[in-house]
Symmetry: C2
Subunit: 142 residues, 2 copies
């Protein structure tokens, strides 16, 4: 039932020091055994998975922490708790994919086209739309 910090590190693939750090930042939680050593519930593994996945998308720990705010600290998260989080993720990823696709297409059509006149370049004017999209993810994580 209870995992030591070393076990969590091994199973999640993140360093012990990183787990200490996450705990200090309030992204994961533990209790102590008689000898003052950390003990974790298994659902910490899922949290760490999510942290890692989110980080790959350039999402800060602070934002991840806020996303986790919907999860209960006391009880083990239920299916509904995770589902809610899942919905967030799905939307966030969808948006991110959309942005990437747009950037790719812009890079292709604009850079590829060789139109060196920037004021006339579609990409040049596309910037604002992209900027809006980028800030748009605040919807989910602010």
């Amino acid at each position: 039932m209870a995992l030591s910090v070393g076990q969590v590190a091994k199973r999640s693939g993140v360093a012990v020091s990183a787990l200490h750090f996450y705990e200090q930042k309030g992204l994961i939680h533990s209790w102590r055994n008689a000898g003052n050593q950390r003990r974790f519930k298994r659902d910490v593994l899922r949290r760490v998975s999510i942290i890692k996945a989110a980080q790959k998308l350039g999402i800060s720990l602070e934002q991840i922490k806020q996303a986790f705010a919907s999860l209960p600290d006391e009880r083990t998260p239920t299916k509904d708790d995770w589902s809610l989080l899942s919905a967030y993720w799905h939307q966030l990823l969808d948006q991110r994919i959309k942005q990437l696709t747009q950037l790719r297409d812009n890079v292709s059509s604009c850079i590829g086209c060789g139109c060196l006149s920037l004021t006339a370049c579609p990409l040049y004017n596309e910037e604002d739309k992209l900027a809006d999209l980028g800030e748009g993810s605040h919807l989910l994580f602010d």
Copy 2:
């Protein structure tokens, strides 16, 4: 024809200090006028646009620099130069989109399914598939 650092800053929306920084890191280039002030060719604006767009997607300056490596420092990039960059970029973004799509689907099906028994989770043994996508995403749901 030639832009001062302040003009570039204003038109691109990034700080003068950031432009100094990018130049120092080799992402953009300039020459000096009689009074030792930086002068930029207009194509620096395109470079900066790309830097900004890529950064929004969590791509590091180092990676961007490498993507820029195909562009010539001396002469103004030609259509073919930009095309080459475009191809590189397209492939990079394609890969990234693929990763995100898979991640989204995994998050949905696994987190969304609410299977709290991690060892029984269908994705539990999918590590290898995910591992191929990039270092960080292995052991996604261990």
